[in-house]
């Protein structure tokens, strides 16, 4: 179980960080492969179905592949690519939505109720921030820069906070499970 969460953590970390020098040094598609592996391990150990997550992870591995080669500047220059980052964000939110369904079930396996509470809290924060960001972003193409700039800065700030919180949450949940092997035997 710990290893599954570790894979999720590494996967979301790779998706979160983007340093583009010729190519993305933290490729998103590798991140989604890690996420898929993590989901598979967690779902298998906890005997949960993960069909939707499997399909979404594979879609995201494929869809995020061009992101490995394209910098943000390059995407901005090509008009038909303008909506590509939005599509990736939307698919990622849907993936995280289904992931939380799995995580809620996994949290219930722990003896303490606090894991379930923190999972629910994280879920509502994550969904509130990311979904409202996507909604607000849709209007930014039709406003002047004096509105767009502060709104963009605020959205980026909220996005950074919620993504870092999500990574911290994954790491904390991982620590709540016993060392590798013992939980599997218990489960």
């Amino acid at each position: 179980m710990r290893n599954g969460f570790k894979q999720l953590f590494i996967g979301f970390l790779l998706v979160f960080i983007k340093i583009h020098i010729i190519v993305d040094l933290f490729p998103d598609f590798i991140g989604y492969i890690f996420i898929y592996n993590g989901i598979k391990q967690i779902a298998t150990i906890s005997s949960q179905s993960y069909e939707s997550l499997k399909v979404l992870s594979i879609i995201l591995v494929v869809v995020s592949l061009p992101n490995f080669f394209m910098s943000d500047q390059f995407i901005q220059q090509i008009s038909w690519l303008t909506y590509y980052p939005t599509l990736l964000s939307l698919l990622k939110v849907i993936l995280v939505y289904f992931l939380f369904e799995l995580l809620r079930e996994v949290a219930k396996l722990l003896p303490s109720n606090s894991a379930l509470l923190s999972t629910n809290r994280m879920f509502y924060w994550y969904m509130t921030v990311t979904l409202s960001s996507l909604f607000i972003q849709s209007f930014l193409m039709n406003v002047t820069m004096d509105v767009m700039l502060p709104a963009s800065i605020l959205l980026i700030f909220l996005y950074l906070i919620v993504e870092i919180s999500f990574l911290v949450y994954l790491n904390n949940i991982r620590k709540r499970f016993p060392e590798e092997g013992s939980f599997e035997r218990y489960a």
Binding site: Q73, Q76, Q77, S79, T82, Y83, T86, L90, V93, I94, Y97, M127, L131, L134, F135, S138, F139, M141, N142, V143, T144, M145
Partner: protein
């Protein structure tokens, strides 16, 4: 039920993106638009003039050059972004979906001759950095030989003191009779002029300066169309001409004009005074919308 709210929100986001994209696309220009302008000023050895144009905000497009009879004149205000940032743009005014940009050209006397001939046959083209070439269509682009001012006039002050009003205060050194001051037809709807006559003033008196600082509506002087022409002006009088740009009309345009005001002096000799009129309008979103609608064929 839990899933329903999520898919409901995702649907709203999806519809919002589609709605905003359709609205955004409905405001885009197929090619940049060079704004109408009226330029009729004296030429010099090297004469500079500016053209304003509108581009889509999300495309980095600049007016590269004018093509005149096989010659190319480059825009001297081309923008070279720092660090090669390709999305950085230089602009004069920003609107919701467009940038208003300015191009500057400097022509020699030979270039001006070439431009005159080509502009009369609608043969001047504007080339943009994205490769688009469009014909240059403006009300007037004329550069005439420079003429000296007559000695009966001594300018005291001039220039702009707010965004929409310019003034020219002229001290009269000799008795004169001035004909009606007229504006070219193409710009009559763009500018209002008030003419004020101060009797027996001393050069530099404070009366003129006080009026010069007033708002257009507060200037207690008749419009040039209401003045009883010809205007008798005696030695020591001062004339104030106040130009007000009507910035709320749809056909607002930049104007650079040296307009002659003619008359006769006490000896019956014809005299003239060149009055410089500069209009550098600040465009409103509504005016740009009108330009865009015309360019998209949605409005005549």
């Amino acid at each position: 039920m839990k899933k329903n709210w999520f898919w409901g929100v995702v649907s709203v986001i999806f519809i919002s993106w589609i709605g905003n994209t359709i609205y955004f696309e409905s405001k885009q220009l197929k090619e940049p638009v060079i704004l109408n302008t009226y330029i009729d000023v004296p030429s010099s050895e090297n004469t500079s003039f500016t053209l304003l144009y509108i581009t889509n905000k999300n495309e980095v497009v600049e007016l590269d050059s004018l093509l005149v009879d096989g010659y190319t004149y480059s825009n001297e205000r081309n923008y070279f972004p720092w660090f090669g940032e390709p999305s950085a743009q230089s602009y004069k005014q920003e609107f919701t979906h467009h940038f208003l940009k300015e191009a500057l050209f400097t022509l020699s006397e030979d270039d001006i001759k070439r431009l005159h001939e080509s502009i009369q046959t609608d043969n001047v083209l504007a080339r943009f950095t994205n490769g688009q070439v469009i014909p240059l269509k403006v009300d007037r682009l004329n550069f005439m030989p420079n003429k000296p001012q007559d000695i009966e006039f001594a300018n005291m002050s001039g220039g702009s003191y707010n965004n929409t009003t310019e003034r020219e205060i002229i001290y009269i050194k000799d008795a004169i009779t001035m004909n009606a001051f007229e504006l070219p037809k193409a710009i009559q709807q763009n500018i209002d002029i008030k003419i004020m006559l101060w009797k027996d003033t001393n050069k530099g008196s404070s009366k003129e300066q006080e009026v010069s600082m007033q708002n257009w509506t507060d200037i207690d002087a008749p419009l040039y169309t209401d003045v009883n022409w010809p205007l008798q002006i005696e030695v020591g009088d001062t004339v104030g001409l106040f130009f007000h740009t009507k910035d709320d009309i749809d056909d607002v345009k930049p104007i650079a004009l040296m307009q002659d005001w003619t008359g006769v002096n006490a000896h019956g000799k014809s005299i003239r005074h060149g009055i410089s009129i500069q209009v550098d309008p600040i465009f409103s979103q509504k005016q740009v919308n009108t330009v865009v609608k015309k360019a998209r064929g949605e409005e005549k």
